[in-house]
C-alpha cells in the first residue's frame, strides 16, 4: 500500500475544480493568442482578440473561485504579503501554491492589459482611464512584451495546478509526477477549443481557424500520451480507478474528451465542445477520486 493512503483529504472540491478548469483554459487561450501575436499573420488577429478576452475573464474568475474557496476569504492577501510584517512579500519558491498565487496575479495583470489593448483596438472602451491604458497597449513593443510574459504565465497557470496536486501526500496526486504535464496539455487543448468556438464570432476566417483546429488535434494526441504515462506511473495505485471515477476517466475523458474529437475532423465546433467537456471531467475525475479516499479505511480491520 502506498504511504499516501494515510493522509487526509483537503476538501478541494466545487470551487477548486472549476478553478483548475477555467485557469487551465484561460492560460492555454492566452498562450495561443500570445504566440499568434508574436509569430502570426494579420488574418489571426480575430483569434488573438478572442484569446486575450477569454484569458482576462478566466483570470478574474480564477481569482474569485480561489478566494471564495478559502476558509477565511478576506485573508486572501496573506498569500502575497506577510500579514504580520507588511509590506514584506510572502513567497516560497518551493511551494507551488505560493508560487501559483503570484503567477495568477501576474497572469491576471497581463491578460487584463492585453484585453484592454484589443478592446481599444475594437473601439469598445468608454472609460477614459481604461481607454488610455488600452491605447498604451496598442504600441507593438509593449503589447508584445506583455504578451510574452503573459504567455509564459498562462502556461504556468495551466500546469502548476497539477504540480500543486503532486506536491502533496495524497493518493493518486502524489503518486505520479505527470499531473502537471497532463493539466498543462489539457489547458492548451481546452484553450484552443474555446477559441475555435468563440473566434468565428469575432471575424476569424476558416483559414485562420485551420491552424487552431490542427493545433487542438495535436494537443489531444499529446494529452492522450501524457494520460497514458500518468496511468503507467501510478502502478498498483491504479486500483483506485475501479470506481465511478475510473469509468468517468475512461468514458468521459478518454472517450468523449479525446478520442471522439479526434474523429470529428469535419465538425470542429462539435469536437471543441467535447474537448471542453473532457477537460472539465479530467479535473473532476482526478480530484474527486483522491478526495474520496478517506484515511483509516485501509487500516480498519487489520
Amino acid at each position: 500500500m502506498s504511504d499516501t493512503f494515510f493522509s487526509a483529504a483537503p476538501h478541494w472540491t466545487w470551487f477548486i475544480i472549476p478553478y483548475f478548469f477555467i485557469g487551465g483554459l484561460a492560460g492555454g487561450a492566452y498562450f495561443l493568442a500570445a504566440l499568434l501575436d508574436w509569430f502570426g499573420q494579420p488574418a489571426h488577429r480575430p483569434i488573438i482578440r478572442t484569446g486575450y478576452r477569454v484569458a482576462a475573464v478566466g483570470a478574474i474568475l480564477s481569482g474569485l473561485f480561489l478566494t471564495i474557496d478559502l476558509g477565511r476569504p478576506l485573508r486572501f492577501w496573506h498569500m502575497l504579503f506577510q500579514s504580520e510584517n507588511l509590506p514584506a512579500i510572502m513567497f516560497k519558491s518551493w511551494s507551488p501554491i505560493s508560487f501559483g498565487a503570484w503567477a495568477i496575479l501576474l497572469f491576471g495583470l497581463c491578460s487584463v492589459l492585453s484585453a484592454l489593448g484589443v478592446m481599444s483596438e475594437d473601439g469598445r472602451l468608454n472609460n477614459r482611464t481604461l481607454r488610455a491604458v488600452g491605447g498604451a497597449m496598442q504600441g507593438r513593443g509593449i503589447a508584445k512584451f506583455v504578451a510574452g510574459i503573459g504567455g509564459l504565465c498562462g502556461f504556468f497557470v495551466a500546469g502548476y495546478t497539477g504540480v500543486l496536486l503532486s506536491v502533496t501526500n495524497r493518493p493518486i496526486w502524489a503518486d505520479s509526477p505527470w499531473l502537471g504535464a497532463l493539466f498543462l496539455v489539457s489547458g492548451a487543448s481546452t484553450g484552443a477549443a474555446t477559441l475555435i468556438l468563440l473566434a468565428p464570432g469575432r471575424g476569424a476566417t476558416e483559414q485562420a481557424l485551420r491552424w487552431l483546429t490542427s493545433f487542438d488535434r495535436n494537443a489531444l494526441v499529446v494529452e492522450l500520451l501524457v494520460l497514458a504515462l500518468f496511468l503507467v506511473s501510478l502502478g498498483a495505485i491504479n486500483r483506485v480507478w475501479l470506481s465511478f471515477w475510473g469509468l468517468l476517466l475512461l468514458v468521459g475523458v478518454v472517450g468523449a474528451g479525446i478520442l471522439a474529437p479526434l474523429r470529428l475532423h469535419a465538425q470542429p465546433a462539435r469536437a471543441a465542445r467535447l474537448v471542453l467537456l473532457g477537460g472539465f471531467l479530467l479535473r473532476v475525475a482526478t480530484i474527486l477520486a483522491s478526495e474520496g479516499i478517506e484515511r483509516y479505511h485501509m487500516v480498519a480491520g487489520t
Binding site: D3, M79, M90, I97, G162, N169, Q207, V299
Partner: protein
C-alpha cells in the same frame, strides 16, 4: 532556541481512557462535534474517529482477535508528530505555520487563511479545518503552556504515563530502554517509530513505541515530504509546454508554406 521538546508515546501501556482527548479539548477550548450529541462510530471504542481541526488528540482502538479467547487490543493516543522536516510547514503559502523555539510546529490561526494546502501535505492526516475558526488547526504541543514552563495538558492528564513529555534527547534514551525491557520480556515486535534523526522527515518530535507494523496503527511506513515530486513534476510540465510550443510554431510555419505554395504567381494577378 531552547532544547527540542516532544512526546514519547508508549502504546503498550495505553489503557484507552481518553483522558488525553478530554484534557486537550478542555485546555484548547475545542468545540464539540455533532452539537455535543453522543454518536457511535461503530469502530470499537473509538468515537472521535480521526485527528482534525477539533480533535487534536485521538485514541485509536485496534482489535486483533483470532476467535473470542485469542487476541489483543492495541491502543494508541495519536497526535501531530511535530516532524523535524515538516511537510505542512514546507507548503504553507501564508507563513502561518512556524517552527517554535521548542522545535515544535505550530499553526498561527490569525495568519492562516484556510487554503488547506497543509492538510494534503501532511503524510499522517493530522491537520484539518476547524469549522468555527475557518482555519487549519492541529496540536500545538501546548505552546502556550510550554512558554510558561508547564507540561502539555494531554501528558499531564495521562494516568499511565503512556504519553511522556520531555526533551527529545532524554525521551529517546528512555524509549530505547523500554524497547530493550519489552524484548527481554519476550515482546520481540517492540519497535520505535520516528525516533531516528537520520530516518524519514529527520525524525519526529512526537514518536512512538509500537508492537506491530506502523501500518496497523494507521501510520505510514516511510513518510515523505511533499516536495519530493516538485523537480520531476515541474520538469515534465516544462517539457510538455515546450512540445506544445514547438507544435504550434511548426503548424504556423506549415500553414505559411502551404499558403505560399498554393498562391497564384504575381503575373496571374
Amino acid at each position: 532556541m531552547s532544547e527540542a521538546m516532544g512526546f514519547f508515546t508508549d502504546t503498550t501501556i495505553c489503557i484507552g481512557c481518553k483522558a488525553c482527548e478530554v484534557a486537550c479539548k478542555n485546555w484548547n477550548q475545542l468545540p464539540a462535534e455533532n452539537g455535543g450529541v453522543k454518536k457511535m462510530s461503530g469502530n470499537s471504542y473509538d468515537n472521535t474517529e480521526r485527528l482534525d481541526g477539533i480533535h487534536w488528540r485521538h485514541v485509536k482502538f485496534i482489535e486483533q482477535f483470532d476467535g473470542p479467547y485469542n487476541g489483543r487490543w492495541l491502543m494508541m493516543s495519536d497526535v501531530c508528530k511535530h516532524c523535524v522536516q515538516a511537510g505542512c510547514l514546507e507548503v504553507c503559502p501564508t507563513g502561518a505555520i512556524i517552527r517554535t523555539q521548542f522545535d515544535t510546529v505550530v499553526i498561527q490561526s490569525d495568519v492562516c487563511n484556510g487554503c488547506r494546502a497543509c492538510i494534503a501535505a501532511c503524510p499522517f492526516g493530522v491537520i484539518d479545518v476547524n469549522p468555527v475558526a475557518g482555519t487549519a488547526q492541529k496540536c500545538t504541543l501546548c505552546y502556550d503552556r510550554l512558554e510558561v514552563g508547564l507540561e502539555p495538558a494531554c501528558s499531564k492528564a495521562c494516568p499511565t504515563d503512556s504519553i511522556q513529555f520531555g526533551t527529545i534527547t532524554e525521551l529517546r534514551a528512555r524509549a530505547q530502554k523500554r524497547v530493550e525491557q519489552l524484548k527481554a520480556q519476550g515482546e520481540t515486535r517492540a519497535q520505535l517509530y520516528g525516533d531516528d534523526p537520520n530516518g524519514p522527515l529527520g525524525g519526529l518530535n512526537s514518536f512512538y513505541l509500537l508492537v506491530d507494523k506502523p501500518e496497523v496503527y494507521g501510520l505510514p511506513a516511510k513518510p515523505q515530504l511533499p516536495s519530493r515530486n516538485l523537480a520531476k513534476s515541474g520538469t515534465f510540465s516544462a517539457a510538455s509546454a515546450a512540445v506544445l510550443g514547438l507544435l504550434a510554431l511548426v503548424g504556423l510555419r506549415k500553414q505559411r508554406m502551404d499558403e505560399r505554395g498554393g498562391s497564384p504567381p504575381p503575373s496571374a494577378n
